[in-house]
Symmetry: C2
Subunit: 243 residues, 2 copies
């Protein structure tokens, strides 16, 4: 793990890093010492580790919860080279979305193409970040919506260090089996008027989660229009389960 830059403001230290070709960012409290829970933040499709919303949310998790937060560019995203097959599916997906057609199968194919690599990368990032004295081996949380959910679900299902997850904005297509292997507490966000994920598909993914504790938070609005108060709610959820 190689840190390439460090800046601090408003009580938060932001460090850019690379780990075996994966570009990432780590946010911790300024002058942090000693162990603290780590939250992984998975970005949406076509976005990147510092897409709008991610640094702001990370800042609140750091300053109000005392957490460490890390985000990485998913395979074929951000500063990383794009896989040919990924470009082909993503292009077809955008065309279908533009034509108002059902994209559930293509979205599932896109996530499946990236998932194995994404899971292995998150696992390597957890190991590397937890070696830092100001992070340490505390419980880990995962936060990711839309593609961040599609790549996060298999991670949460496979990785025992992850103890709680905020997921959502995705339908059940191709994921029922994975969801049935998720047993940690989940807060699941659904947009009631989602223009990309049919309501019934989102409800079915929540239903498929095997977690004894899972909460569905549904709010009016389209795919990206999650209300700001859900950030407070995510923070309290992680504090309850990782704190």
């Amino acid at each position: 793990m190689r840190f390439t830059s460090q800046t601090s403001s408003d009580g938060v230290t932001e460090q850019l890093f690379t780990l075996g070709g994966i570009p990432g960012v780590l946010w911790t409290p300024e002058d942090a010492t000693g162990p603290r829970p780590l939250i992984l933040m998975g970005h949406g499709g076509g976005q990147h580790k510092k897409a709008p919303g991610i640094p702001a949310r990370a800042g609140r998790f750091v300053t109000e919860g005392g957490f460490a937060v890390t985000a990485i560019d998913a395979p074929s995203h951000g500063d990383r080279p794009k896989d040919e097959e990924f470009v082909r599916i993503a292009t077809e997906n955008r065309a279908r979305m533009g034509a108002g057609e059902d994209t559930a199968a293509l979205v599932a194919a896109l996530h499946e193409l990236l998932a194995d690599q994404a899971v292995a990368e998150w696992q390597a990032v957890i190991t590397a970040v937890q070696e830092l004295g100001y992070v340490g081996a505390c419980p880990v949380g995962y936060w990711g919506l839309s593609m961040g959910c599609g790549l996060g679900l298999p991670l949460v299902a496979a990785e025992p260090r992850v103890r709680a997850a905020v997921l959502g904005l995705l339908g059940v297509h191709g994921l029922a089996g994975t969801a049935a292997r998720v047993t940690v507490p989940v807060q699941f966000l659904l947009q009631w008027d989602d223009d990309r994920v049919p309501r019934a598909q989102g409800l079915a993914l929540f239903d498929a989660l095997a977690s004894a504790e899972k909460t569905l938070h549904a709010n009016p609005g389209k795919h990206g229009e999650i209300p700001g108060f859900e950030t407070d709610s995510s923070l309290r959820f992680f504090t309850r389960h990782l704190g």
Copy 2:
């Protein structure tokens, strides 16, 4: 409004009162002075103003939010005389429930029988309680599930002093029109495995609310098994909208 008893413990003063034949209870911070938002707490069917859960929840709203909280016995409930027609429908409802039959129409009839009186009584209680110097004319919140939702929805739709409501555990039967007149922020609780309210009926009631801000919180479990962390969530919701 006549107060008949007063006790204080753990920072909360509890006063029993009667108002024109309505038995009620008012919880306020010990030694409270000056105005504060008021939360009305509606109990479930067959229950009463101090049914399990209500005083504990009121205590947290008082000590952690600084709110005043009041609960009254609904018509034909608690210490009040029971209407003959109410007894007839309630008896039939219990029998049907015991036989595992659909009770949506009977539940709606039961609530409709009580609703006009219940709304008028809550309005009188708001007026009387807000005349107390340590409550005053601040925004009002309503909290009520199951029958507390069935009697609360028409109140919230009709009464402009109510600015936010926690509702739920009820289906849309007979309530679509009322829900379409509710425009204040609503937090709606739904039990994913509700043994009394079919899931689709509960989702449809949430869907029918006209509120621009409404949040569905769905959790696993049966009708009465709402997880404790939803009390925290209600408290934060009222603090956000009444504070």
